[in-house]
Structure formats: structure tokens, C-alpha cells
Symmetry: C2
Subunit: 327 residues, 2 copies
């Protein structure tokens, strides 16, 4: 197989085979494929697109380029979550301990800020001492004991995606639904969860400006997850205005704490409630969203959600927030 | 200016400015632009196209990346010729000495075989001793004394095109009318001729398989030459079957000698007559093609065309063919 023939095939708008996609991804992973050939193929993919089948193969190939986290020895349904990113988007930091407080196992490997959007890791690192670089065994220990752990993606997780992303960033090949969805889903599938919940942000402050694009991205990611045997759902949420009142790493963590006490800004509370109740249903903790919402409200009101957040922080080297703050 | 913004602009189907194209070509020439960005832009050009204006700017920029041969101190109209290449295409080897025998100055810098098509240089090198690597001053001396000289393109001629061509070859970005026409015309314009005649081959044995593509390529190249102030004409000629009976370096030179004696294969004779008479008119040697054809026939019949070929070969280190061969 010659990579120039694979590039020509995509240039001409044809569908690539699984073998051709594997050949490309393996070449990228091993460093045997020159960057100039990879970027030409990426641009052809941006302009010619990929079928859902091709996108799934690309995702599988990127998952197989590295390690897959094995969470099978942790009891319970593991739910992964990803947001496509927005301004003031702090939902994961609230959702993970809240869901854990309701009995759901929520492993979360997060990323840094991207473009104009903030990153979960950057925000959590504003907590003095908080370590985002746990080893997988440490991550699993926190997960087992606390029910959630938020860390950075390990280097061995989908390394092909890391290399391709770096190349896409400098070749104007970021904005492509097949490439974005394969990138997101390769990381989520490699994280080893049983269920994946996606927050596709849509609006002026999001990467997807209009609903048609957001819907197409959501559809592609759900299809990839489903084909890989992982129950996957996507919710499209508004990003026309920043989420909450705080935008900035430390002050967003403060807002998360307020939200975990049940008194966050209305928009943040609404998105958190929507995701948390859906996560409880998907994890089989409650039969329907009404019942799930009751449990969620209880975890917030009882202080159990905040306490779970505190335990996660302490297990990862930081100091837990005080239960009661001056009001 | 950031190259990633230039790539994004072309990816989105916009027209690049002259400054953006210069920035790209200068980066390629100086080696400051990474190959992976150049190849992403090339693929975007292949799939989004370029206007004639953009293609002209690209050509100018590639001409300016190197030296331009100054033929102004050689009296008379200088006519350059290029063929897009085919099987058995030996027209240049006959046309150059034939036109020179009719009083036209025909400087010719040729290329090697490309893909399935033969190269003029490869064919001429089958003549023992023939040097294709003359310096520019030697080239001009032969041109002045004989009226024609066929050599290889010097390294300083459109170096940006050489780099881009090497990259296009391995990234499936050869087949693009703007890129092909800018590549051909940058070399022809850098050669310093006053008039350029183009042979656009069309058919099964050519790079352009159908007439629409051949016509589009011819139109683009003529527009580029005209915008650069060089009188440019293109003839589309058939390449559904090999030209002549000989395909192979040495035997094609033998067929050229037969043609210069006026007894080449009918198809070769026809194309030679068509181009030679047009060249004589464009160079102002004859007022019309009928008169030009008379002069061409005379140069063939009198042996002057063959003798001119012999003088060029001898001046370039080879042994001239004997005037009369056993028949």
C-alpha cells in the first residue's frame, strides 16, 4: 500500500477502507509517515468528508494506537463525560462529584484550554496541591474509593490523536466533523467507560456556531460510540453567553463549590441538573429522570455532593473546601 | 501573516491575495515554511481551485524565486516551446532545429521523463557525448551561433517550482490545472523567451484524458503568459496513440533524424509542420501559415534542418548524424 494512493483516493472523494485508515494511523503513531503526507490527507478529509463507517474506523485505529484503561475490576456502571467546550463551562467539575455522590462511577480524563475555551485541568490546578497527573493505578484507587477522579489524559491514551491534533492545529484542519468526532471519541473510548455522555455546546462562544453543525457532530459521536458497543448520548446545550458568572480558573472553582451547595447561577444549575439526572438514568441508578432529579437535589442539599468533591481533592493532593462558607 | 490563516482561507474557498501567495512561495523557497503546511495548502488548492489571477501571481512568485535568463542580447524573436508530454512525443527535438533553420531563435530548456511519458533530455542523452548541462553563457553562445540549443533547466530556474513539484509528487497534489499551469509557465517565463508555444496533449496517453481538461489547461497557461506580457499560444494535439513508430530514447532520436529529412511518420510530420509554421508566423518570419509552410518544407528538403540539428549536437559535445543514411 502506498500512502500517496490513499491520499489520492480521499482527494477524489472516495471512501477509504479500514485497512487504508489503519495504515495511515499506524504510520502516524510510529512516525514512519511523513507529516507532509499526513497533512495532505487531513486536508482532503476536511474538504471531502468521511462516512460514519470511515470515522468509526479512524476512531478505532486511534484507540488501538495506545492503551485502553481497564476499569472492569471497579464495580458498577462507569460513565464518561465530555464537553466540546465553551466559555465558563465548568459542568464537569460539578457533575463528576455530584454523580458520584448519587452512586455513579465517573472516571474523567480531561484536557487543557483550547482556543478561547477554558480547560478543566487548568481550573482544577488552581486548587493548591491538586494533582492532575495521577498514574492509572492511583486514578483507579481514587475512583474506587470516592466514585470519581478527574485527571489529565495519560500519554499512552490515543497517542495517534495527540500527534494528529498537533498537526491539525498548524495546518487549518481542525474544523472537520469526522476529525473532531474521531478525536473526542478515541479518547473517551480509550478511557474504558461503559456509558459516554456528551455535551455539545452550540452558539457564539462554542466551536459549533450553528445548530446544524452541533447536531451533525453530536450524531457522528453517538454513532461512533454506539458502533463501538458503548452506550452514548449527546445533549446539545446553549453557548451563546458564558455559562455562569465566573470566567477564570480559580473563580470558576469557587462557582463550582457554590453550585455543589445548590446555589450556583441558574444556568449552571440547570445544565448540571439536566446532565446529572440523565447520567443517573443511564447508569441504571434510577428508572426515570424525575426520580433521578430527586436524588440529585438530595445530594446537593445534604452536602454529600460537596463532600465527595472534597474527598476527591484531598485524595489528589489538594485541600478540600470548607463545608460551610460565610454567607 | 500566519500561514495557517492562508491555508484556512483557501480551505474555505476564498481567493488568496498576491501578498499571501508571495508569502507562501517565499517560505517554500527559503525553507522556512514546513512541508506539512505547504502540502495542506496544496491539497486545498487542488480541491478549491485558483482563479486565473491567483494562478498568475503564483507563477510570478515562482519565477521570482530564482534567476530569469536574459536573452535580450541575442537578436531576433526568441520562441519557447513546451509539451505537456505524451508517449513517443519527440516534437521538440525536431521543431527546435527546424525553426532555427528557418531563422527563428529557439531556446529550449527541457525536462526528464515524467510518469509514463518520455523526456526530451533523456532522449538527447542517448547521443554519445551530448551535454544537457550547459552553463547559461554556453547555452547562449550555441543559441547565437546555431539558432537553437536544447539543455536541462538550470538549478536556479524557478527553484520554488522544483521544491513544490517534489512535494506534490508524494502528496497526490499533481493533478490540478492551476498548479500544473503555474509550474509549466514559471519555467517558460524564467527562460526569457518573447513568445511561448504550448503543445497540450490530450488523450489516453496524455495527462489530460479529455478535451475539457486539455482546453482548461491550455486556457490557463495562455492567460498566464499573456498577463506576463509574453505572447503565448497553445495547440491541443492528439495523444490517443503514441506519436510516430518509435518509443524509446535512442530509437526516437533516429526517428527525429528521419523526420528532419522530411521522411518521418505521417503523424509526427503533421504535428511538426503544424507547430513549425505557427512558430514562423509568431516570430514574424512569415506573414501567414501558407508561406511559413513553404519555408518549412524547403528547410526539410534542402537538408538545412538536419544540418542545424547536427551543428547543435556538435556544439554540445556529440557527433552529428550523417547527412545521408543508407536507404
Amino acid at each position: 500500500m502506498r500512502v500517496v494512493d490513499v491520499i489520492a483516493k480521499k482527494r477524489d472523494g472516495c471512501t477509504l477502507s479500514r485497512e487504508e485508515i489503519d495504515f495511515f494511523v499506524n504510520g502516524v503513531t510510529r512516525g514512519t509517515l511523513p507529516d507532509y503526507q499526513a497533512s495532505a490527507l487531513l486536508m482532503a478529509i476536511v474538504l471531502r468528508g468521511m462516512t460514519i463507517e470511515e470515522t468509526s474506523w479512524l476512531t478505532d485505529s486511534m484507540v488501538n494506537s495506545g492503551d485502553r484503561v481497564d476499569l472492569s475490576d471497579i464495580p458498577g456502571v462507569k460513565v464518561g463525560k465530555h464537553s466540546t467546550g465553551g466559555v465558563g463551562d465548568k459542568i464537569s467539575i460539578v457533575l463528576a462529584p455530584l454523580a458520584a455522590a448519587c452512586g455513579v462511577i465517573m472516571p474523567k480524563m480531561s484536557g487543557r484550554g483550547l482556543g478561547h475555551t477554558g480547560g478543566t485541568l487548568d481550573k482544577l490546578e488552581s486548587i493548591p496541591g491538586y494533582r492532575v497527573d495521577l498514574r492509572v493505578d492511583e486514578f483507579k484507587a481514587v475512583l474506587r474509593d470516592v466514585g470519581t477522579s478527574i485527571i489529565g489524559q495519560t500519554a499512552s491514551l490515543a497517542p495517534a490523536d495527540k500527534k494528529l491534533y498537533a498537526l491539525r492545529d498548524v495546518t487549518a484542519t481542525i474544523g472537520s466533523i469526522p476529525l473532531i468526532s474521531a478525536s473526542v471519541m478515541s479518547k473517551k473510548l480509550a478511557e474504558g467507560s461503559d456509558v459516554v455522555v456528551l455535551d455539545v455546546k452550540c452558539g457564539d462562544g462554542a466551536f459549533m456556531k450553528d445548530e446544524a453543525d452541533a447536531k451533525a457532530l453530536a450524531t457522528a459521536m453517538v454513532a461512533i460510540g454506539t458502533r463501538a458497543g458503548v452506550r452514548t448520548e449527546a445533549l446539545i446545550t446553549d453557548m451563546d453567553t458564558p455559562l455562569g458568572r465566573a470566567v477564570g480558573n480559580a473563580i470558576e472553582v469557587v462557582e463550582c463549590i457554590e453550585t455543589l451547595k445548590g446555589r450556583g447561577p441558574d444556568d449552571v444549575m440547570a445544565v448540571v441538573r439536566r446532565f446529572a439526572s440523565r447520567v443517573l438514568v443511564l447508569a441504571g441508578r434510577e428508572p426515570n429522570e424525575a426520580a433521578a432529579l430527586c436524588r440529585v437535589e438530595n445530594a446537593l442539599a445534604s452536602g454529600k455532593a460537596l463532600e465527595t468533591f472534597g474527598r476527591m481533592i484531598e485524595r489528589q493532593g489538594g485541600t478540600a473546601p470548607r463545608r460551610a462558607t460565610a454567607t
